[in-house]
Structure formats: structure tokens, C-alpha cells
Subunit: 376 residues, 4 copies
């Protein structure tokens, strides 16, 4: 049996519930820290906190119970650690005699729950791991500037402003606020040489973080592209029409398609709008709203191609009837692809013709609806 | 009938007028808030504000009247909401008895009119929608650092600086000013550990916004490219010469062309300048200033290709005679294209020769003018 | 006769001289503003300022005299305006009776001379022109956030902090310092709602400038690539060997080559270093330091290819004997190119063999020197 | 004999030791600057500093001794200068009679040792050298804004705030803190015009550093790609299977492979995980943990290809048995490559079949293990 640690949270309702519990919990914790809170509000916050704690405990127990054979593994996973961190520290601190107002601050760890609700953080971690070497050299530059400027300012400004630069930790504090361009203004050099160095530090700071930004951005873009390809590839294999194209065309398509996960009753195509995309249905179903007989298209079908071929506006609304995954192909990419792989255009036309030929007249109708040129 | 909600504003004069009204309105509103304003200036500002309000009301009524059948749709569109937001809130507030100086602050909503005057904001919205998932994970990281550092600083600095860190909202305020590298300096940690955490927050802040920047920038670049392709494609189909090339060459060209929307009497090509582009005329007309007989070229023609082929300087000015849309092809792209698609070079040469052959001697003249090598 | 407005400044010595004059001038102007300057230093500064002014006047006159036929054109060009701005304002202000210490501040305009000494600023302007539309929508967002947050903070904080938020200009000042993440700390919101809005403004500010950065960076990269291509193309046509390759290979090469403008006596290749490049000589001359008979290679020759083919280290120093322009081809690009265009590898090998065959024995020697595998 | 200045530091243990010495040294130096340090701690710090100095002296002597013939060259290299800078300045200052607490501040130069421990800094230097021209034009813009705004603010604010803007150096200090968005808040303009200019300076500052960031980021990405290619190329030539493919496929592969340097006993592939990569072994050895007979694969072999071909999960752990260098090929890149170069897919399949055929049954086993579809 494959382990699904978050099967419990897959549904959208549960995710919203988790977010609500988190918001209530953090709000209550925040309220507890305010000195001028009324007694009643304090009591209400306290109850809210205990409720959240109870809910998180339930969640932990349900998850652990669900994963009968893999309990230890779950508790050692990052999800398990986050779930434990939500439940254990506060009671432990209270037991150890820490005052309640301090102990409840540990509920701040609940914010980590957010990470389990949002996908994509793992990707971020991977980018950082891949670019570790480049990021490390940026950190070295950062530290070098930090220490050298800290020492220099300590030597230059220390005798004049002992409270701001009188020791190296103090002037390193100045250096970090300056190098990150935060600039609190609690420590400001006064000598000419000190200000000259400070100016250079500010400029270097921006250069350093420009590098940092550039490396992260480049890495993130590459990783994004890679993940999209893998996810699209899986979906393309579910559309027989796509899978049977020439391999280079399939690869090119997989790169260009954009996945759309739509809820039930979402309008995909709006009547009268310019046609900028065609869609392949990877899973689910859509309804083409043609009067008097709406048409339904299921997984493996495609629609909206006529608008690309003719440049016409859409002539009917298309709405999902259930949660549906579509693969959208932009008009620009469609033209590029068909120029390089004319067989794709032919295949799209043939498939459309085949459908119109009688096999599935309803679908043909759907295409016909798309075909009428809108009076733009 | 297709709905053109902003047909009224298409003209450049009307756009400038709108900007003027907006500037006057906002300036008057600003003046009203200044306590030491003279009575006369205050009266003038008041009159200006009422005039702007009246103009915006007129605009709303004209637009609603224009769209006879689609009034409700217009009022529910984002343009309609902005138009309503410019007209309704101020009178409503005055009717509800809000003091005039407060009520008129709602005229600040007029700034939203800017969004309807500048294209490209829709694109921005689309980028954000497409990258929503990646941006969401950045926000999660942001919130996590915010809460954790806020809690930590409240615990560490709260007892020492109750006015700055004495409650969680206060230390969250510190955290957000620090994480965004704004650094007002109204709250500054004093303990060693607090400053260490603050340093890490500053560095993380730059990392987080590096990611944010990277994601937005990448998405924006991709969307830009896509939109340019669609707009160019439409224009390429208006130039018969281009439309009849091999499909792969057309696609490549469409990617490489740069659209230029020029006003009347704009100088496109300057005599004596190096030739870095050739131009296709999508719509409008240009005049090649050759003495004694200037030559006019209309939609579908091209000019400036000789400079690319010979590397010579331009030998005549070329000026638009009416609003003209050109498609420019850079010398670098021209060479790349003709290397990959030699038929393009042949087609350009043939077309030039055909024209010189007698059909349109004036055009031939234009090309000849371009041909003379400038004494560089 | 082609006009060369800066022919005067082309030489490196003159550029350094210009920089020196500029530095002296600005330093003297700076000194003049310092209240505790000694009388003698003040006199010296004054003399320096007058000398600089005289030099700039001479420069203007020489340039205008040089361009006999195009004087008016030069004075209307950006270079001419900068030259005039350096000479006219100060004397004019003095004549109009402005006190000397104020009048000399106009010497700050001399900094504009820098722009004429550094190439690449024109490119920057072009990028901004090309991306104007995208940048405009960022400015619209910026202004919208600025006005809305300024109005909101004026309403919320105005009554509490009249000196910081009491009028709209004051709270717009706060908004611009916050939105740009400068954060002077002279105006800080105090109400809960004000701080919430401020937090959002900070985050939006970073988002807005992320977009700005992204647009500029993307545009700059594209423009850079385009300009390099044009400059390389010109040079490639000066190397017969390159010009005679198949067109697609030439284009690919032009994209990949990196131009190096070297001064006399620069070491291009160092003995014992790994071979990461081969070089084509576009103009100038190099000397291969082989004992006992150094070899000279002129324009059109190439060297360093053996290191790419064999992965060996360099076996001789190569030094320029005069200002030389080289086109460098990286090892990675060389392998990519030769895989796609095997005729290139064959041509390089054939050319090397032809030379070794006797026509130019010295050159052959140079290649042989490169051939010996270094004991790595 | 090739010189290996850092042969001594290649091992990971030595690197960690260097980092430890550096950390201890800098911590001791920091402690020395704190005025309220106890006598005993001061003495301990002093001893730690002298020990570090002694260690760095030893390192210098060992390195110099190792490089018998190239001592002078080593001492002139950047590594040698860093080593000298760690050893010479402190004793020299003490000899010259500088007080100990000042002299020891020169130990801050030890931070430069970091640069020798982290690779990739040379690359950074190269990027800056290559983009020097573009970066120079950014610096020109920066200086121009700096001087012009400094002069303007001095003229506008000088009379009102002589302590903040009374001389040009003072107002340049304001300009640099504002332009870099640091914003200490020690000098804030008060006049309307001054604040308007300040607002423009802030916005320009962000624009300027956006350019700076963009240039550095673009250059860094290109250089990264180039260096990876060179490193991969070297490794690809060590895998006979790869080297014998068609040249275009080899080049493409070299671009796409990602180098992984793994320590002993690292888990490369985990049982049950989706197969997202295949691996070529450039050097070292891995063990495929199949029960009951684990299989070992050495340099030149590949594994994990079945997961790519079938989309199945991994069915066995793969662990390195010694320090190993792998070349990973992502699933997305694998599909792209095999679509463009079908011979690669055939070669992979043939090689796998050949192995299964009997030559190395253990390896066949390994592949078979990979083949079983995981019950996902």
C-alpha cells in the first residue's frame, strides 16, 4: 500500500478549514500578548488556543492512525515534525512551569502548518540545493564585506561614537543593516572616511543581492520548466490523439501546453471573446452550450481549434461539468508548432473532419459552432 | 454588434484630456488637505473638484448610453466599476453627512482611471494569475518568517522595550518593516540574540523578494513574447509578400519583427545613419524623400532592405505621411533568417527587382536611393 | 565628409585627461561648498574651477571649429548640449548677479560629460524606449498605490500626527519613502489600520520594483545580444576564413564570438593555462613567444585552436604587438558548432594543415607550439 | 611540473579545519573589541589569536616549501597575497608600536581566507570583467544622479538644514543613502521641491539597481552554463557509451547533464520514489541494493533508465560505495533528447539488452529490479 500522508487534506474544504483554524489560533495568540486586553477577551483567546491545540492533536492522532504500518516514518517526515511541533511544545512548556503568556508564544510554530498546505515549497528547496555552490560564493562575498567594513568602521568611528561602534559586534550590526539596505538609522557613521566606506558598502550590498536574486531567479525558472514538463508529459499520455503524433512534435507540444485544473461549472470559453487557445481534455468533461442541444466532450477530446485556424471569435460558451484538467495550447504556439510539424495541423483537421463525418455528430456540432465567424 | 466599451477613448486627444482632468482633480484634492491654504485657493479647488466630478458623471452617462443593450454588463465590468467608483462615493459620503474635507478624500479613487488609459495592465494581471502557485509559496515563506521572527523578538525584546516589542502586533510591525528592508528605525532590537535574528531576517527578506522578483520577471517576459507574437501575426497577414513565404520562415519572422506604431510625419529613416533595420508597411503610408521626386510607399511594401544587404548607410530620409504601422526587422535577425531560409533573401531580391523592372518605377527609385553607398 | 563629433576624444589619453579635468572640477566645486574651508584652499578651488571652465570652453570651440559645415547640427545634438551646459550656465549666473557660491553649483552639470566618455548609454536609452509600454504600466501601478495609500494614511493618521500626515503632500512623501523601501523613519504610522496598510505598501513596493527590474533586465539582455551581433558581423566579414563558411555556420559563429579589444602588449594566452578559447584576429597583430623565433600573426589569422581540439594546456605566451581586436570562440561553443557544422572543424584543420605545409612556416610553428600536450 | 597551490586544502577535513580556525580567530578578535570583557576572557582571546596567527604562518611556510620552484609566483598570486595578508600586517603593526587592540583589528583580513575555500569566486570575477562595459554605464548613471541630486539638495536644503545639507559632501552622503534605498533618516529634505527631487532619486535608485541586478544576473547565468559545459564535457569523455554517440547528440547531452559529486554511502535512488532521472557513472562506484544479491556498477555504467522509459517508481535503493561522480539526465531532457535523436534511445535499449544477454548478469538484475512497476 502506498502511503498518502496528506490524503486527509486533499479536499479543498479541509484545506480552508485548516487555514481557518490556523488564523483563529494565531489571532488568539496575538491577542494574548496585548497588555491592555479585557479579561473577557483574554479568556476567549485562551479557550480558542486550547481548542486549536486540541484540533491539532486530533489531526496528529488521525494521521498516525491512518498510517498503521508507517507511523515511525510519518513522525520522522517533515510533515510529521511540523504536526508534532504544533502539539508538543506548548503543553511541555506549561508542564515545565513556564508562565502561560510565554508558553503560548510557542504556538507561533503553528505557522509552519502553512507549508504543508501549499505545494511548491519542495521545489524551492530543490532550487536552493542545486544552486548551493553559487549561493555559497555570494554568502562568502557578503561575509567578507560585512567583516571588513565592520572592522573598518569600528576603528574609524569607535572612538567618536562608542555606543554605536564601540565594539565589533556593534559595528557588525551596523554593517548588516547597511549591507541589506535596511538602514534603521540607529548607527550612522560621522567621519568622512567612515561615510565613504559606508557608501561603498551600500553599493556593494545592492550588487551582492542582485547576484543573489539573479541566481535564485534563474534556478527557479529552470526548475519550474522542468516540473511543468513532467506533469504535462503524464497528461499528454492520457490523450490518444497527442500520444500518436511524431515524437518530436509530442515533445514540443509537451513543452508548450499549459495545464489548467478547473473546478466544476467553470466557464472555459466565453462566447464573443477572441480565440487565443485550443484545449485538450486530459480528464473530466466539458459542455459546449449550443442551443438547442448542448454537447458534452470527455477525456481525450479537444475543442476551440477552429478559432485558431480562422482567427474568429468564440461562438459558444464552454463550461466544465465536473472537476476537469485541460491542456491549453496558445495561438502563438499553435502556429509555431504547425509550421514546424505540418502533420499536426493535418491531424487536427482530419480528426475534426472524422468527427463531423458522423461518428459523433454532437461533437461535430460543437466544432461547427466554433466555426461561424463572429461579427467582430 | 460587438461591444466597444472604450471606443470613446481610443483617440489620443481624448486620452490626453482624461489625463488632464485627472491631474487637475487630484491636484485640487491635494490642495484641499493643506491646512494653511488661502480661502480663495480653497474655493478654486472646490470648484475644480465639482467640475471633475461632473465630467466623470458625463463620461459614465455617455458610455452607458452608447452601450444600449449591454448597460448592465458594462457596469459590472472592471471599467464600469472604476467609472462608478469615480462618481458615486463622494456625493454619497456628503449626503451621509461626512464632513466635506473627509468626503473629498474619496476622490483619490479617481487615480484608478489611469488603469483604463494604459494598456498592458490586463497582461500584468494574467501573469500574476499564471504564476499564482509560485507566488503563493513565496508568500508562505514570507508569512512564516514574519510570524516566527515576530514571536521571537517579542519574547526577547518585549521586557526591555515594551513600547516597541511589548505585544505581538508591535513586533510584527517591526518584522514587516525589517523583512521588506524598509527599516524605519522606530523599533530596533537591542539584545545580542535579537540582533542576530534581525540580521537573519534582513538577509532572508532579500532572498524572499529575490524569488518574488525572479518569478514575476520570468512570467512577464514570457507573457510579453506571447502577446507580441499574436499582435505581429495579425499584421503579417496584411503583408502579402510575407504571408506567401514558407510557413517556418513566416513563424520565425513573426517572432522577430518588432511593431512600430508611428504618428504622422515621423522620420523613420535618417539620411547618413547606418542601416540597422528593414521595414514592412502593415498599414499607412511613408514618403521616401528623394530629390527631385519623393516616392510614396503604401501598405504591403517594404523599404530599407538594401542597407542590410550592403551594410551601407541610409541615403534618404523616410517620413510617414499618416499614422502608420511598420514591422521592423533588425539586421541581426535578417542575417539569421536568410541564413536559415535562403528563399527569404531570394524573395526580397526578386521583389525588389520586380519593382525596379518597371511596374512601379517610383518604388524602384526609392530602393536605388538606398543603394548608393554612403561615403562613411 | 562624415561628421565625427568625438574624433577628438577617441584616444585613450584624451579620455583619461577628460576624466581628470572632470574630477578636479567637481572636487573644487565640492570644496567651495564647505563652510570651514581655509582662505587659501578656497582661492585654489576658485582657480581650479575657472581653469576647468576655460578648458571646457576650448573643447567646445575646437569641436565647433572642426565641424565646419555642421556647426548648428552639432550644437543641437546631445553631445553639443552637454558641451554647452558645461560652459554657459555658470558665467550666465554670475553675470545675472547670482552669488558666486550659488552660481558655481551649476558646475555640477559637468558630471554630464561622463555620459559622452562612456559608450553604452545610448543602448540604455533604446531599451527604455522599446520597453516604454511595459514600464508605463508599472508606473501606473506605482502611482495608484502611491495615491491610494497616501489618501488612506492621511485620513487615518492625519488627526493623530498632523506634522507627519496632516496634508496629502505630507502623506504622499511618506508613501514614496515607504513604497521605495527607503524608510527614513521621519513619518511612521501609529494606528493599527495605518500600519496594516503600510505593511501592504511595503510588500507591493517590492513587487512593483521587481517588475520594473525584470522588464529592464530582460530588455537590456536582448539589446546587448543584438548589438553584439551587429558589431561581430562587421568583424567576421574582415576574416576571410570565416566569411567563406556556410551561411548558417557564419551566423551561428557571429552569435557566439566574443569581441576583445586589446591594448598593445597585452598577454592573450598564457603558457601552462588550460586552453578555453580559440582566437580569430579581426585587426592588429599578435606575437607568439616561441623560442628562439617568435612568430607574428596578422589580421585574418587564427590561433589557439589546438588547445580546443586536444584539451591540452597552452605551450606559449601570445602577446599583442599593437592595439588588436580579437574574436574569441569558447571551447563549449566550439564543440557545439563543430557538432552541428562538421565542415567548420574540417576547415579549421585544413587551414592549419595548409599553413604547416610551407606557405607560412612561422605560423605553422606557432600551431605546433600549441600542440605539445602540457604535463598537467 | 604543474603547480597545485591548494593541493593541501583539497580534502574536506582540511577545509573544515580551516573554517574552524577562521571562526575561532574572528570570534577572538571580536571578543577583544568588547570593553566589558573579563580579564580571563581577554587573555584567552589573546592566546587564541596568537595560535591562529601561528597556524596561518605554518600554512604559508608549508605552501611555500611545497612549491619549491615557483615560490615567487605563488607569493604574487591572489592566494599568496591572501596568505601573506593573514600573517604579516598584525605583527608589523605591533612592531611599529600600534596599540594591541588596534593592531589585532587587522586580523579582520583573515576573512579573505574564505575566498580560497569556496570555488566560484573566480567565475564571479570573470562575469564582472565581461560585463564591465555595461556595468560602467550603470555606474555613470549612478554618479550622474548622485552629483546632480546632491547639488540640487544642497542648494535647496542647505540654508534650512546646514548640519544635514550645508556642504556638498553632506548632501552627497544624503544622496548615496537615498539612492541605495538605505534611508538612515539622519538627513531628510523638508522643502516641497527637495522632497520631489528626493522622490525621483528613490525611484531612479531602484531603476539603476534593477539594471545592475539584471546585468549581473544575465552574465552570471551565461557564465554558469559555459563552465558547466566544460566540466561536463570532460566527464562525458570518460563514459565510452556517451562518447560514441553522434556528435550532435553528445553536445546536446553535455548541455543537459547535471554533475553530482557524491560522498561515500550517499543514497542516489530511493525505493518507491518516482523515477525522475537516469544516471551515468563518470567515476566511482554504486551498489544497487537488490535482495539477496546486491549489484555493483562502476565507471562507465548507467542505471535508472527503466524508470524513465516506463514511468515506473524505483524498485531498489542505489547507494555509493566510494566518492562518486554521476551525470544525471532528467526525465524531461531524456524525452526531448530521444525525440530529436532516436538513436540515443536505441543505444540505451541495446546496451541494456546487451548486458542482460549474459555479459554482466548482475547488472541485468539491477535493471530488472528497476523495471517492476511500483503499485502506486
Amino acid at each position: 500500500m502506498r502511503i498518502v500522508p496528506f490524503g486527509l487534506l486533499k479536499s479543498r474544504t479541509l484545506t480552508l478549514l485548516e487555514l481557518l483554524v490556523l488564523a483563529v489560533g494565531l489571532a488568539a495568540m496575538t491577542a494574548m500578548t496585548m497588555p491592555d486586553l479585557s479579561e473577557r477577551a483574554r479568556a476567549a483567546s485562551s479557550i480558542a488556543l486550547w481548542c486549536c491545540l486540541a484540533l491539532y492533536l486530533c489531526e496528529l492522532l488521525i494521521k498516525a492512525w491512518q498510517q498503521a504500518g508507517a507511523r515511525a516514518k510519518y513522525l520522522r517526515s517533515s510533515a510529521g515534525i511540523i504536526d508534532l511541533a504544533a502539539v508538543v511544545p506548548v503543553p511541555l512548556a506549561l508542564l515545565l512551569g513556564v508562565p502561560a503568556n510565554i508558553a503560548w508564544l510557542l504556538a507561533g510554530l503553528w505557522i509552519l502548518k502553512l507549508a504543508t498546505l501549499v505545494p511548491g515549497l519542495a521545489m524551492l528547496g530543490r532550487v536552493i540545493a542545486l544552486e548551493a555552490r553559487a549561493l555559497a560564493s555570494v554568502i562568502v562575498i557578503f561575509l567578507t564585506i560585512l567583516v571588513l567594513s565592520g572592522v573598518a568602521l569600528h576603528a574609524l568611528e569607535g572612538p567618536l561614537q562608542p555606543r554605536q561602534f564601540g565594539s565589533l559586534p556593534l559595528s557588525l550590526w551596523w554593517a548588516v543593516t547597511t549591507l541589506s539596505s535596511t538602514g534603521y538609522g540607529d548607527a550612522v557613521p560621522m567621519t568622512f572616511l567612515g561615510r565613504l566606506i559606508a557608501g561603498l558598502v551600500m553599493i556593494s550590498g545592492l550588487g551582492v543581492f542582485g547576484l543573489w536574486t539573479g541566481i535564485l531567479a534563474t534556478g527557479f525558472a529552470a526548475e519550474h520548466r522542468r516540473r511543468d514538463f513532467i506533469r504535462n508529459w503524464e497528461l499528454v499520455t492520457q490523450v490518444p490523439f497527442l500520444k500518436n503524433l511524431d515524437p518530436p512534435a509530442v515533445i514540443e507540444l509537451t513543452r508548450l501546453l499549459r495545464r489548467l485544473d478547473l473546478a466544476e461549472k467553470t466557464i472555459v470559453v466565453r462566447r464573443g471573446r477572441p480565440g487565443d487557445c485550443m484545449y485538450f481534455i486530459a480528464s473530466g468533461e466539458v459542455e459546449v452550450k449550443i442551443e438547442p442541444h448542448p454537447v458534452r466532450l470527455g477525456a481525450g477530446a479537444f475543442f476551440g481549434e477552429m478559432a485558431l485556424l480562422t482567427g474568429a471569435a468564440r461562438t459558444a460558451n464552454v463550461v466544465t461539468t465536473q472537476p476537469t484538467t485541460l491542456l491549453a495550447l496558445e495561438v502563438a504556439d499553435f502556429h509555431t508548432l504547425t509550421a514546424q510539424h505540418p502533420e499536426l495541423a493535418r491531424a487536427v483537421a482530419a480528426e475534426a473532419a472524422r468527427r463531423t463525418g458522423g461518428a459523433t455528430p454532437h461533437v461535430a456540432h460543437a466544432h461547427a459552432a466554433d466555426d461561424k465567424r463572429a461579427s467582430r
